[in-house]
Amino acid sequence: MRYLFSLVVLTLFLSCPAFAHPEFLQYFKKESGRAINCAMCHVNPEGPEGEKPGQIGSLDATGKKMLELARKAKPGDNVVNPILNPFGNEILNTIGHDKLVELEKDPGKISTLLSKTSDLDHDGIPDYQELLDGTDPLNPYDGLPWKLFFINFTRNWFQIMLLSLATISGIYGLYFTILWFSARTKDEFK
C-alpha cells in the first residue's frame, strides 16, 4: 500500500504542469520587439518541460528536492531552482514563487519588483533593464548596441585615449618617414 501511494504521488509530481511562464516570454517579446526564448530565465532554451539537460525530466532525486523547495520560495530566500539559470533564480528569490505566479496576469510588473542595481553579467545594464530590452542578462556581450556603446566607451576611455595617441603618433612618424624617403628618392633620381 505504501509503495502504491509513493507511486501515485510520484506520477502526480511528474505529470504536474511544468513551472513555465509563457506569459512573461510573450509580454517581454512584444515589449522589446526582440525575439527571446526561455533561456532568458531557464537553463534549457526550450523551457522546463522535457528530458533534456536542465529540464524537469532530467532531474535526479536531489534536483527534484531542490525544485520542490523552489516552489515554496519566499521573497528574500536563497533557493536554487535547478531548471532556472542565475537570472531566473534571482527573480524567484527576489519576489518569491507565489507572487511570481500571481504576476502571470500582469507580467510587466515583474521588472518593477526586481533590484535596480543587480547586474549579473556586469555589462553595465541592470538585469531588470535587460529584461525590458529583451537582451540576455547573463551575457555581457548582449545588450542594446547604443547602450553598450556608451557604457563601454566610458569604461574604456583611457584605453581609447591611449589608442588615439598611438594612432596619431604612428601616422605622424610614418608621414615624415615617407616625406624623408620621397626627398631622398628625388635626390637619387635627379
Binding site: A35, N37, A39, P45, D142, L163, I171, Y175, I178
Partner: protein
C-alpha cells in the same frame, strides 16, 4: 593553320595592352604616377580602405585560428571560449566581424563609384573584372564565415540559402535543372548541413578563398599600378597630385582614422548585440528554429526580394545583374558617365532601401507585422 595563330596573337596583344609590364618600373610607379584631383577624388581612397579591412581580417583571422575548432561538437564552444576566456579574444573576434562588414561596405561603394566614374573603360577591363571577382569573393567570405560559429542563426541561414540554391533548379531547362542540386550537394557534403558542410566551409574560408583572393587582388593591384588612376570625370582634371608621397600620405591618414574607428567599435559594441540572443545559442538539430532567422545584412539586397517576389523573378533578376557585373566593360562601353552615375545612384537607392527598410517594405507588401 593561320586562324589560331591570329587568334593567339590577338589574345597576346589584348593582354599586353591590359598588362603593360614594360611600365612596371620604379620611375613609372613611384616617381611619375599622378592622381587626378576633382569632385570625385574621395572615391580613389575606397580601394585602399577595402584592402585595409581585408588585411585586418587576415591578421585577426589568424589569431582566431589558434583557438577555433571546426567540428560541430566544439565549434560553438570554442567561439565561446575565445570570447570569454582568451585574453582580448572578444576584441579580436569583434575586429574580425566588424572588419568583414566594413570591407563589404567599402567594396560595394568602391564598385559603384568605379562604375559611375567609368573606370572600366579600355584598357582597364581586367581591373574591373578583378574587382567584380573580389566582390563575389567578398560575399563568399561572408557566407562561409557565417556558418563557422555553428550557432542557431548560422546553421539555419545556411540551410535556407542552400535550399534556395536547390530550388533554382526548378526554373532551369531539363538537362541542366539538376545542376543546382548537384552544386548544393557538393557544398553541403551530405544529406543535411552538418560536419561535412562545416569542414568544407572552414576550408573555403581559411584556405581556398584567401588564396584566390590573394591571386585576384595581386592582378587587380598590379593592373591599377600599371595603368595609374582612371581619369574619373569627363573634363580633363585641371589639377593632379603625386601618388608618391602625397596620395600615399593621405591614404595613410584615412587608414589610421579607419583603424581607430574600427577599434573603438570593436571594444564598445559587440557585433552580435544587433541580433536577438537566441540566435547565438549553440545549434540544436532537434530543437525549434528561432523566429526571424536572416542572413547577414549585406545579403538583404537578395533576401528581401526573395521574401517578397516570386522566386523565379528574383533569380532571373539576380542572374541578369550578375552577368551585367562581369560584362560591364563591354555592355557600357559607349555609355556616358552621366548615365552611368544615374544607374549607380539607382543601384545605391535600391541597396539602401533593401538594407535599411527591407523589413518594413516586406511587411507593407505582404501585409504582415513581425
Amino acid at each position: 593553320m593561320s586562324e589560331p595563330k591570329k587568334g593567339l596573337k590577338r589574345l597576346i596583344g589584348f593582354m599586353n595592352e591590359r598588362l603593360p609590364m614594360q611600365k612596371f618600373n620604379f620611375e613609372n610607379i613611384v616617381l611619375k604616377k599622378e592622381v587626378p584631383m576633382h569632385r570625385m577624388s574621395w572615391a580613389y581612397y575606397l580601394g585602399g580602405l577595402t584592402l585595409f579591412f581585408f588585411l585586418i581580417q587576415v591578421v585577426t583571422g589568424v589569431f582566431l585560428l589558434f583557438y577555433y575548432q571546426p567540428t560541430v561538437s566544439d565549434a560553438h564552444a570554442s567561439i565561446e571560449y575565445i570570447t570569454k576566456y582568451v585574453n582580448n579574444g572578444s576584441t579580436i573576434r569583434n575586429l574580425h566581424t566588424w572588419a568583414s562588414s566594413c570591407m563589404i561596405f567599402c567594396l560595394v561603394i568602391h564598385a559603384l563609384t568605379t562604375f559611375a566614374m567609368k573606370a572600366f573603360a579600355p584598357p582597364r577591363e581586367l581591373i574591373w573584372l578583378g574587382g567584380a571577382l573580389m566582390l563575389v569573393l567578398g560575399f563568399a567570405f561572408g557566407f562561409t564565415g557565417y556558418l563557422l560559429p555553428w550557432h542557431q542563426i548560422a546553421v539555419n541561414a545556411t540551410k535556407v540559402a542552400l535550399q534556395s540554391l536547390e530550388e533554382s533548379g526548378h526554373y532551369l531547362p531539363g538537362a541542366i535543372s539538376g545542376v543546382p542540386h548537384y552544386i548544393k550537394e557538393i557544398i553541403q557534403g551530405g544529406p543535411d548541413v552538418g560536419q561535412a558542410t562545416l569542414s568544407r566551409f572552414f576550408a573555403l574560408h581559411v584556405v581556398i578563398l584567401p588564396l584566390l583572393c590573394f591571386g585576384v587582388l595581386g592582378i587587380h593591384l598590379l593592373s591599377v599600378q600599371l595603368h595609374g588612376m582612371s581619369q574619373g570625370v569627363d573634363d580633363l582634371p585641371k589639377k593632379s597630385e603625386k601618388f608618391f608621397p602625397f596620395f600615399i600620405l593621405k591614404d595613410l591618414i584615412v587608414w589610421g582614422v579607419a583603424f581607430l574607428g574600427l577599434f573603438i567599435l570593436a571594444i564598445c559594441v559587440p557585433f552580435e548585440s544587433f541580433y536577438a540572443f537566441p540566435f547565438f545559442q549553440a545549434y540544436n538539430a532537434l530543437g525549434a528554429t528561432p523566429e526571424g532567422i536572416k542572413p547577414e545584412w549585406y545579403f538583404y539586397f537578395a533576401y528581401y526580394p526573395l521574401e517578397i517576389f516570386p522566386f523565379w523573378f528574383v533569380m532571373l533578376g539576380m542572374t541578369i545583374m550578375g552577368a551585367l557585373l562581369f560584362l560591364t566593360p563591354w555592355v557600357f562601353k559607349k555609355t556616358s558617365r552621366r548615365v552611368l552615375t544615374i544607374l549607380a545612384l539607382i543601384m545605391t537607392a535600391y541597396l539602401i532601401a533593401m538594407t535599411f527598410f527591407g523589413q518594413a517594405i516586406y511587411e507593407i507588401v505582404k501585409g504582415v507585422k513581425s
